[in-house]
């Protein structure tokens, strides 16, 4: 299907630039920035022939799509697969893949479970766990910052906060990586992930049941809302599943991004050491700079004009969060990592009604780790070549060998 079936001279409507970029290819993952720029410069809306989808890479259009959820819906899937045409690979999410009014109800529940007031209660424990983790790593000196810190720290706090049993937690990261690969097109990453998904899915569905969730955790709190009628008992496990899908691997990539930034930009690391109260903003800026969640799709519910062009009903639109977060139309010196930047408004956690409901958990973890680093570590040096981890949605590293010296 060619949406601009017109010849270039046929009408007054400006033609949509067709690009050959495949944003789900290994070459793109290795270095997405030239392609991001090409898409931003080509126009406010582009068409990607590789997968027959529209794309938006400028801040203004990404923001506009996020903030018009009735036109750009989520209920037909936020991956390439259109749920109106294809059976979803798993039962759809009751929050991420839902539109108002259904979304409004489930969102209200997760907002309460993950509210600022709840974060206040978690804060001391998360801070202490980060200090213990960084003490252990300073004592070791040289290690791999991805498994040992970016994965190690969230694994030491998040499953407990959720109330998960100790056994089987090794399914968590593979399950999340599957979920985020599955948003992509039917390429090797997605197909392999789905082929290997059965044991991880079985584990996750089991852990979402009320009996398997410890009292006081996020999971038990979600189930408690089925007693008061905000959600049904059948909905509760699926909402717990949302936290298992979106709550762990994302922060692994987020913390990995922050450590990678601090290892690459020693001047910013020195500023953080001099003023550890910058830790929270330094994490936020890393989320803008690396955009651990790179992309999400929407589906048009009607013909719509966007950026001066008309997109028909039933089309998939791919939002490039990482490109919007470095759009020079919106950001000064977008390609520099600046821990004092006023970063409010970045779309690394999305925007609008679906904006990350777990962002406060992510920030608490990020702030805890960077505060502990700033207080306890003297220098961070890379002691080997970083290695990229490939995922259709998430951007981050497989391996980041580093050496810490004590402060």
């Amino acid at each position: 299907m060619n949406p601009t079936g017109l010849s270039p001279h046929a009408g007054v409507a400006p033609a949509i630039p067709h690009l050959a970029i495949d944003p789900f290819s290994y070459g793109f993952f290795d270095d997405p920035y030239p392609a991001h720029q090409e898409m931003r410069e080509a126009g406010p809306v582009v068409y990607l022939d590789a997968w027959n989808v529209y794309g938006v890479a400028r801040y203004a259009e990404v923001y506009a799509v996020f903030n018009d959820p009735l036109t750009f819906c989520s209920s037909r899937g936020v991956g390439l697969s259109d749920f109106a045409k294809e059976k979803p690979w798993r039962p759809p999410s009751l929050i991420l893949e839902a539109d108002p009014p259904a979304h409004t109800r489930t969102r209200a529940v997760l907002s309460k479970v993950l509210s600022p007031a709840v974060m206040k209660r978690l804060r001391d424990g998360f801070m202490a766990a980060a200090e213990a983790k960084v003490d252990e790593l300073v004592a070791r000196g040289s290690f791999d910052a991805i498994p040992d810190l970016a994965e190690g720290y969230p694994l030491s706090v998040f499953p407990d906060a959720l109330g998960l049993k100790a056994e089987g937690r090794d399914h968590l990261i593979p399950y999340a990586s599957l979920v985020f690969n599955a948003f992509g097109p039917p390429n090797e990453l997605r197909q392999q992930a789905i082929e290997r998904s059965a044991p991880h899915q079985a584990y996750v569905m089991e852990q979402c049941q009320r009996d398997n969730l410890a009292p006081g955790g996020f999971g038990a709190c979600i189930h408690a809302f089925s007693d008061s009628g905000e959600i049904t008992p059948a909905e509760a496990p699926l909402l717990v599943r949302s936290l298992l899908s979106a709550g762990l691997d994302t922060t692994v990539y987020g913390i990995g991004a922050a450590v990678y930034c601090l290892a690459r930009f020693p001047d910013q690391w020195e500023r953080l050491r001099a003023d550890p109260s910058l830790a929270r903003n330094a994490f936020e800026e890393a989320v803008r700079f690396e955009s651990p969640v790179q992309t999400f799709f929407r589906t048009t519910t009607r013909d719509v004009e966007l950026g001066g062009v008309t997109i028909p009903e039933g089309e998939k639109i791919l939002m490039f969060l990482g490109a919007a977060n470095r759009d020079p139309r919106r950001w000064e010196q977008p390609d520099s990592y600046d821990i004092t930047r006023k970063v409010s408004g970045h779309v690394g956690f999305g925007s609008g009604i679906h904006m990350c409901v777990g962002q406060l958990v992510a920030r608490l973890e990020g702030e805890a780790v960077l505060t502990a680093l700033a207080r306890k570590v003297g220098s961070i040096t890379m002691s080997g070549e970083p290695k990229r981890r490939y995922n259709n949605t998430l951007r981050g590293l497989e391996s980041l060998p580093v050496t810490f010296t004590p402060a």
Binding site: A108, S111, K112, S115, P116, A117, V118, M119, K120, R280, E284, K342, S344, G345, H346, F349, S351, G352, I353, M355, C356, V357, Q359, L360, R363, E367
Partner: protein, 107 residues
């Protein structure tokens, strides 16, 4: 444009001509008023845009919704009866002269 005054925790004050229709939070951010962090960009998730509205003005604002009320329970600085989230207050001519105080911390 509507005149809004921000008073910082150290009593320094800044008066800005804010664009009608935007939020008080956005007015602070676009006019370089520090101390309103707005981590969620105005999506009513973060409670880091907390302000204390000067007493004379509290009754002139739209009442606090249930969502805002729940968020205010999690502010970093103490919640007071005049606590509001600045992203939930829309700049409008009726608010000309509004004075808000910025707490000493947001997270």
């Amino acid at each position: 444009m509507t005149t809004i005054t921000f008073i910082h925790a150290d009593n320094r004050s800044q008066t800005v001509e804010a664009e009608d229709g935007a939020s008080i939070m956005l007015a602070a951010l676009t006019h370089g008023v520090d101390g309103i962090v707005a981590e969620c960009g105005g999506n009513a998730v973060c409670a880091t845009c907390h302000v204390y509205v000067e007493e004379a003005w509290t009754t002139k604002l739209d009442p606090v919704t249930d969502d805002e009320d729940a968020l205010l329970d999690g502010t970093a600085a103490e919640r007071l009866p005049n606590s509001r989230l600045s992203c939930q207050i829309k700049v409008q001519p009726a608010l000309a002269g509004l004075v808000v105080r910025i707490p000493d911390r947001q997270s």
